[in-house]
């Protein structure tokens, strides 16, 4: 199946930060876009949405250039940002009335069904909604026009676990339709442990890894062993080495290779996405 989103050698330079990223997302999948604060997640998303101007590189959405075909593309994108940018003086219904007219495929029936699912009162002003409810409202706006690509920038930050779970459940249901794709940026990696198909990990404006979640979780490992073992290792095998009085712990990209080198002298645990992010960001490579 063709890529729903292709980011190729995308560059954006600031005085103190340079972004240079490439990745792609196939239809029918959810890509978790992870990285620490300031890694370049929001910048990348704003570039995709043409809210920022790229210095060079290419962004194709549905196979179309995101600047030349901006309006056509945005008809088919649903967006959710990290905070409420809707007019808080307006009611949910008034805001819907404004937003819906921009979309050719707006589905009022679908909108009403999401209002029910999320238990959102359309007569309430947006400023009267809690942060979780505001995020649900953003999500409803993103989902009610049959968007093919849903782009979400930190939608779960600040939400309580129940709302987060509801949101993730909805996203799973959306992906039952194989024609759709979701790019979900977050630094709460536990959200992705169950639902992400692909993980793109960005740090300091560079892609560290962009692959399937299963590949990451099956090949990476968290190893623990005695300090003496650090002398025996291949260069670059151990990532983010943390030493303490009992020994060391580190991340390995290839746990089979680590087992080959160290044998039974080490313990290898299955990492979480948070482990993979944590060790790569903070720690020395041996």
């Amino acid at each position: 199946m063709s890529a729903i989103l292709e980011v190729d050698n995308l560059r954006k330079e600031y005085r103190d930060f340079n972004l240079n990223v490439s990745f792609s997302l196939e239809r029918g999948y959810l890509m978790g876009f992870i990285g620490p604060n300031g890694a370049g997640k929001s910048t990348t998303i704003k570039l995709i949405m043409n809210l920022l101007k790229k210095d060079s590189g290419a962004i194709k959405v549905f196979g179309l250039d995101n600047v030349k075909n901006e309006i056509e593309i945005k008809q088919r994108i649903g967006f959710v940002y990290d905070q409420n940018y809707y007019y808080d003086e307006l009611t949910v219904e008034e805001m819907k009335g404004i937003i819906s007219r921009f979309y050719a495929d707006w589905d009022d029936e679908l909108y009403r069904s999401y209002l029910k699912i999320f238990d959102l009162d359309p007569r309430k002003k947006i400023k009267e909604l809690s942060k979780g409810m505001q995020m649900k409202f953003s999500l409803i706006m993103a989902l009610s026009h049959h968007a093919e690509l849903i782009i979400m920038d930190e939608p779960t930050s600040g939400l309580d676990p129940i709302v987060r779970r509801e949101l993730l459940q909805i996203l799973s249901e959306i992906l039952q339709n194989e024609n759709k794709g979701i790019l979900l940026s977050t630094h709460i990696t536990s959200d992705l442990d169950k639902i992400a198909d692909y993980i793109t990990f960005i740090n300091q404006g560079r892609i560290v890894e962009s692959t399937t979640r299963d590949f990451l979780l099956e090949n990476y490992g968290v190893v623990r062993g005695k300090k003496e073992l650090l002398m025996q290792t291949d260069k670059g095998l151990l990532i983010g080495v943390k030493e303490n009085e009992f020994g060391f712990e580190a991340l390995v990209k290839d746990k089979a290779r680590a087992r080959e080198i160290f044998g039974d002298k080490i313990i290898i645990d299955k990492p979480t996405l948070e482990d993979i992010m944590y060790y790569q960001i903070d720690g020395k490579v041996v």
């Binding site: 704003k46 809210l51 409420n84 007019y87 808080d88 009335g97 404004i98 007219r101 921009f102």
Partner: protein, 215 residues
């Protein structure tokens, strides 16, 4: 584009009515002995309403949402230019109703109805202000554009005072700054056309700036 205009009206609904009414009553009751109050109704009130709408936009950072929607930048810009003329219509309508009622009841401080020449002056005045301000807003955003707003506000406060002083020191002048004497039919048409030209240039400049803006 219509929904962008409706959005601004919805955002200000109560204020749009209260402010327009308040400023028009103020202009008629306080300023009419010195200055044509409908200039306040036609220039100052729409400008204040525009600033209020932009302040809402800034407060909610809603330009991010607007620019994420499938809408051309040209339409976003055009909606802003058109909205101010809607404020103008509302304010002039409010002013006209007030003066009509005041004259109907023979109140001592009845306002002067808007003349054709007055409409020309209002259109030229608000047209020029908008033509200068909106490109600055679309280039730099609301916060940086406040510099122009401050200059305009100071000018709006000082100029009437100066006008009052001049009238006071020259008793041979009529009691009001008679705009009608300055605008003949031919001059009026030329001024209107020139303002339209300036507005067109300003609109294109605003679009050009807005397409380069980052959010």
């Amino acid at each position: 584009m219509a929904q962008l205009i409706i959005k601004d009206m919805l955002l200000q609904r109560k204020r749009l009515i209260y402010f327009t009414l308040f400023y028009n009553v103020f202009a008629i009751l306080i300023l009419q002995d010195f200055f044509l109050p409908y200039l306040v109704a036609g220039i100052v009130v729409p400008y204040i309403m525009l600033q209020t709408a932009l302040a809402y936009e800034e407060m909610n950072k809603s330009e991010i949402v607007i620019n994420s929607l499938p809408v051309r930048k040209e339409k976003i810009v055009l909606a802003r230019y058109l909205t101010i003329f809607i404020y103008l219509l509302i304010s002039i309508l409010c002013y006209s109703i007030l003066t009509f009622l005041m004259n109907l009841f023979n109140l001592p401080l009845a306002g002067e109805p808007v003349s054709l020449a007055g409409i020309v002056v209002i259109f030229v005045g608000i047209g020029i202000i908008v033509s200068i301000y909106l490109p600055i807003f679309f280039r730099y955003g609301y916060i940086k554009g406040r510099v122009f707003h401050t200059v305009f506000t100071v000018a709006a406060l000082i100029l009437p005072t100066v006008a009052v002083k001049i009238i006071g020191e020259n008793p041979e002048l009529p009691g009001r700054f008679v705009v009608e004497d300055l605008v003949g039919v031919r001059t009026g048409i030329i001024l209107l056309l020139l303002t339209l030209l300036i507005l067109t240039i300003s609109f294109n400049l605003s679009v050009w700036f807005y397409k380069k803006r980052e959010f």
